[in-house]
């Protein structure tokens, strides 16, 4: 076997492994859901784990927003204009736009998430522009503190939404 063939073989086997891993994760998630459904938790604990796929979604969306902040900050340079993605262009924004018709989107928790998420994007743009125009560190730090507080609020809003989604799922099952 020549080396190119060898590489192709390895790639193919890697791809199989990855798809197997994805399958295993999916199975695990399904099993976890089955276990949860069959276990007598107290209602509050159950609410937090009612929809395991959403838990993965929400964890990913949170991580994305930390990356979003970091990747913008790492590009900051004096005199350089950075066009920060709008709150519809980032992963969370796309996820929000794609889920507008879901039951959990017809709630006040959803509106709160959208409001605070839009604020976070404004703050990141403010920080990159302050940096560009050479504002002093104290000012930039003050605005960055507001950003940290508001990113946490996005996380809280996602947690609230997750619980709200579970309430809705339970009501449906009960009906």
């Amino acid at each position: 076997m020549n080396s190119l063939d060898q590489a192709t073989q390895e790639n193919a086997s890697l791809a199989t492994n990855i798809s197997q891993m994805a399958k295993t994760t999916q199975d695990l998630s399904y099993q976890l859901q089955t276990v949860i459904d069959r276990t007598d938790f107290d209602d509050n604990a159950k609410k937090r784990v009612c929809d395991t796929n959403k838990i993965f979604d929400f964890a990913q969306l949170k991580a994305d927003h930390i990356n979003f902040k970091n990747s913008n900050f790492s590009q900051c340079e004096k005199g350089k204009k950075i066009k920060v993605k709008t709150c519809h262009e980032c992963n969370l924004g796309k996820w929000i736009d794609a889920n507008e018709n879901e039951d959990f989107a017809q709630t006040k928790e959803w509106e709160e998430l959208k409001d605070i998420h839009s604020k976070v994007h404004h703050i990141v743009q403010d920080i990159t522009d302050l940096y560009k125009d050479n504002y002093n560190n104290g000012q930039i730090i003050a605005v960055t503190e507001s950003l940290e507080i508001n990113i946490n609020k996005v996380f809280e809003a996602l947690d609230n939404l997750k619980e709200k989604n579970c309430d809705i799922q339970f009501d449906k099952k009960g009906a």
């Binding site: 404004h122 703050i123 403010d126 522009d129 125009d133 104290g138 000012q139 605005v143 508001n150």
Partner: protein
Amino acid sequence: MASSQETVLNDESFLVSETDMNGIILFANKEFCEIAEYEESELIGKAHNIVRHKDMPKAAFKDLWDTIKAGGMWQGYVKNRTKSDGFYWVYATVYPYKNELGEQCYISIRRKPSRENIEKYTKLYQTMN
């Protein structure tokens, strides 16, 4: 009655000012001066309400001051007045900030709001006055 002239911000507009804890202007960037039609020297030391427009409801500013005095960040739509009695709409964010002397100050950053929101808040503020 002459209708007053609207100044529309650019998509990239970045109006910055800083006030002390009583709302006295400590700093105004060039773009803010240009849009408000004042020289920098005419703004520094003045109360920030030099740009306040009579159409703004008192409740909006009460909400702003209540929020930032409590240490929070405030965002909202504001109609401001220019020196020649025109007006311009902004989407404002006010951040609490302590300067190097440890004194409480506030930074305000204003950007161009969408036309849709200008119309929405024009109507809303009319009902609040």
